[in-house]
């Protein structure tokens, strides 16, 4: 079968993304409307009467049928407008473009940390399976999976920020204004999220590397007299890299989700905080906007991972 051109593949995948975006935003919109509680009550203020709340619903178009409201939102999106917060009137696109870099930086730092620590752990454990190194790695990995991120986050703040005063306890700085300050602020939340990623990378890598190393062609390589280092780097890791890309794409998605809690602990104004605020106040344009952004990010990450897998392993049909 002739291979399709990468542009066509990417185009096809993006087309497939459309129904996913529609479905996700529709479901979230429906959920927000199903959950009792109403932004009109918040908008009407402390002294509200029933009449005033009804009036507010009318002013903000909250009395229209559910599908009409969703349709109106969608019509705006198609025209490139994510509409604005019902409560404060800030453009949702403005909120998101301010929040997104903060979240992205945390996830990037967490991913780098998870890989830098997780890959060596996985490799060392796979070389001598069941040795004491392997058992230690397994233990650390189990801990990493088991410890809740928010708990680790609070311990990190208490020890590293409040006691030692090495890193700031809260907030975020803009990367474009001051990269070093931005990274200093994102480091602790990054570590808190990375712990899980490190464990996952180490465990998965150990597993798939063990499988490769026990296969027949590796035995042949040994018989040819190749050193362990060469077998590992030239053959072993190359073969597990497909698995690694898959793990990374899953990790990025998980880490994005984890920022919802971690951003609250560190008071980071990112996408996670934004969607929580939107959901609590039933400010649905905000929630819709963040969901929309997240879906696109997840689809892009998966697409990139698939393309990379196909690049290292030609057997994978795109």
């Amino acid at each position: 079968m002739a291979r399709r051109s990468p542009t066509r593949v990417i185009g096809g995948r993006l087309l497939q993304a459309l129904p996913v975006i529609l479905l996700a935003t529709f479901m979230v919109f429906a959920l927000l409307k199903l959950v009792p509680g109403d932004i009109a009550v918040t908008l009407a203020g402390d002294n509200a009467t029933d009449a005033r709340i009804t009036e507010i619903r009318k002013i903000y178009g909250l009395d229209r049928p559910f599908l009409v409201q969703y349709g109106a939102w969608l019509a705006n999106v198609v025209q490139g407008d994510l509409s604005q917060s019902l409560l404060t009137g800030e453009k949702v696109a403005t909120s998101i473009s301010r929040a997104f870099p903060n979240t992205l930086l945390i996830v990037a730092i967490a991913l780098v940390l998870a890989l830098v620590t997780g890959i060596p752990m996985g490799v060392i454990a796979a070389i001598k399976p069941d040795g004491w190194v392997d058992k230690t790695v397994s233990m650390i990995a189990s801990l990493g999976v088991a410890i809740p991120g928010f708990w680790l986050a609070m311990i990190l703040v208490a020890e590293i920020s409040l006691k030692l005063n090495w890193l700031p306890a809260t907030g975020a700085k803009s990367f474009s204004v001051s990269p070093i300050e931005a990274i200093r602020h994102a480091l602790l939340p990054g570590i808190a999220i990375a712990a899980y990623g490190m464990a996952e990378v180490a465990r998965q890598l150990r597993g798939s590397l063990l499988e490769v190393l026990s296969s027949q062609y590796v035995r042949t390589l040994h018989a040819k007299g190749l050193s362990m280092t060469r077998i590992l780097w030239q053959h072993g890791l190359k073969n597990v890299s497909v698995n690694l890309f898959t793990i990374i794409s899953i990790l990025v998605n998980r880490m994005l989700a984890a920022t919802v809690v971690i951003e609250a602990v560190f008071a980071i104004p990112g996408l996670g905080s934004l969607i929580v605020r939107g959901a609590i106040q039933r400010d649905f344009p905000i929630v819709q906007g963040v969901v929309f952004t997240m879906v696109i990010v997840v689809i892009l990450v998966n697409l990139i991972a698939d393309l990379l897998c196909a690049a290292v392993d030609p057997r994978i049909e795109q």
Binding site: P36, G37, D46
Partner: protein
């Protein structure tokens, strides 16, 4: 008090130490000086920076810095005092004359004169997006009767107005700014005449304001500006102060006080506020349609213990809707419901619930709320009431109880208080008020007494009228007040001149920063 727990002794000692080393609020140290940026951790994003269209009680912490009000209040008792209006008088019960201070300008340089005041009052009263129409319900018209004089014609006597004009309704927005903005929307571009001018607002992140160099109060404000970081997670907010990233945090939760005090560089101010934890009752349906059950419910509560156990002792037990320090507090009402489980049981028996009474209340699911619920459930159990809480997030729970659904028989929530007590009572204890969850009938003498409290501006007559209102509300047991929360504000030692106030919404009038 015969027994003193270890915790109380510790609290006394630390209080004494704080008093000695910091020289509490009464002994401000040093000479105030200008300069520096005050960094504040604020718990909530404002709903709007336009006083007319916003809704949340938490907005005031921002609004007060940028908007001055026609009247202000005394920090300790909330009695109204002159603000932008340097004097006011009722020439007859339905005519209020306001004399505006001369020489005051808005941040955009336009004059704050009688025309501007008239514009604001009319906008607050009739703009479709105004949330404070009800505040000015009694105002029929506002007329300019001099370059600096506005005369309000009222449809009924309303002595509450001077107090009301110290809140949203009295915050003056630049008419020029309103006219220049699309659809008169100044929610994100506030222009007032307050101590600080607006610089920027990033939703859920930061609000920056800087000193109004032409402010009318001499020498104020002292700081060059204020930066509010919006941190909804209160534990994180208090950490930002102990870690030195912010200078001050308000709304510190009582359980955090001990932790924050461990940091040597932090001082904590506290004082009573109007913010009252209470159980709103639906007296339009069983079981609370029976006055005996409502009274039994009130007798069952041990408020002293509640304050100690649920609020770390940092609150005042509440027997009505006003705290002791308030100018309209009435001592005789406070004695109506001492903790008396036996009396409660007796009343229940008389009401036909000899074998106990199951009660469903609505509540909130956060940690502090659940702790409060657990303490109360136990107190009610001892008085023969089997209370169960149906918990839901705040927006959902309050909509379900106060709105159309009528879920539960009561809701454990809070009332934030109002600058004039007549609002507090009319918003909860009149037939069609939203905060009368069941829209249940109210005795005519109570409605009359609430009206009466607004009839005269004479403070002694008003005090008497409020005594009647409070007595009728509590004798009918339309509500179960629990405790007035203290305002807890944590700040580092650089911050000087902070004073708590009874409204519980922080003002930074005299705050300055030591370098």
């Amino acid at each position: 008090m015969t027994q003193t727990t270890r915790r109380e002794v510790m609290a006394l000692i630390s209080g004494a130490l704080a008093g000695a080393t910091l020289g509490g609020p009464a002994f401000a140290q040093g000479t105030p000086k200008r300069g520096g940026i005050l960094r504040i951790s604020a718990p909530a994003n404002p709903s709007s920076l336009d006083p007319a269209t916003g809704g949340a009680g938490s907005d005031h912490a921002f609004l007060f810095t940028m908007y001055d009000t026609l009247t202000e209040w005394d920090f300790e008792t909330l009695k109204p005092k002159p603000g932008l209006a340097e004097s006011w008088s009722f020439s007859d019960p339905t005519t209020l004359v306001l004399n505006i201070r001369s020489g005051v300008t808005f941040h955009d340089g336009t004059p704050l004169d009688a025309e501007a005041v008239k514009f604001n009052l009319e906008r607050n009263k009739s703009d479709p997006k105004s949330n404070i129409k009800a505040d000015l319900a009694a105002m029929e018209s506002a007329a300019v009767t001099g370059p600096l004089q506005v005369t309000l014609k009222l449809s009924t006597p309303d002595a509450a107005l001077p107090g009301i004009l110290s809140d949203r309704a009295g915050m003056m927005v630049s008419p020029a700014a309103v006219k220049a903005s699309a659809a008169g929307n100044v929610a994100r571009t506030p222009v007032g005449a307050g101590a600080y001018t607006f610089v920027s607002w990033a939703d859920g992140e930061k609000i920056v304001i800087k000193r109004n160099e032409k402010y009318w109060k001499p020498n104020r404000p002292y700081p060059d500006g204020i930066e509010f970081s919006i941190i909804p997670e209160l534990t994180t907010g208090s950490r930002s102060v102990t870690a030195g990233q912010n200078d001050l945090m308000y709304q510190l939760p009582p359980r955090q006080k001990a932790i924050v005090e461990r940091a040597s560089n932090i001082k904590i101010f506290n004082g009573p506020t109007l913010y009252v934890f209470q159980i709103f009752l639906n007296w339009a349906k069983p079981p609370f349609d029976n006055i005996k059950v409502r009274q039994a419910f009130n007798f069952a509560i041990d408020r002293e213990t509640f304050v100690k156990a649920a609020l770390a002792g940092l609150a005042e037990p509440a027997y009505m809707n006003l705290p002791k320090a308030h100018w309209a507090y009435d001592k005789s009402v406070a004695g109506l419901y001492p903790h008396d489980p036996d009396k409660a049981k007796k009343l229940l028996t008389e009401a036909g619930f000899k074998d106990g009474l199951p009660i469903e209340l609505v509540g909130y699911p956060d940690q502090d709320s659940v702790q409060r619920q657990e303490i109360l459930i136990e107190q009610f159990r001892k008085a023969g009431m089997n209370v169960r809480f149906l918990n839901a997030p705040i927006a959902e729970a309050s909509a379900a109880f106060f709105g159309a659904e009528k879920r539960g028989s009561g809701i454990l929530a809070a009332w934030t208080g109002r600058p004039d007590p007549s609002l507090t009572y009319s918003l909860m204890f009149t037939k069609d008020a939203y905060y009368n969850g069941g829209r249940g009938a109210v005795p005519p003498e109570l409605e009359a007494a609430i009206k009466e409290s607004r009839a005269s501006e004479d403070i002694e007559l008003r005090r008497k009228a409020f005594a009647t209102v409070q007595r009728l509300v509590m004798e009918n047991a339309f509500v179960a007040p629990l405790a007035f929360q203290f305002e807890l504000v944590a700040m580092n030692k650089k911050v000087q001149g902070y004073r708590p106030n009874l409204l519980g919404k922080p003002k930074y009038d005299d705050v300055w920063l030591e370098s």
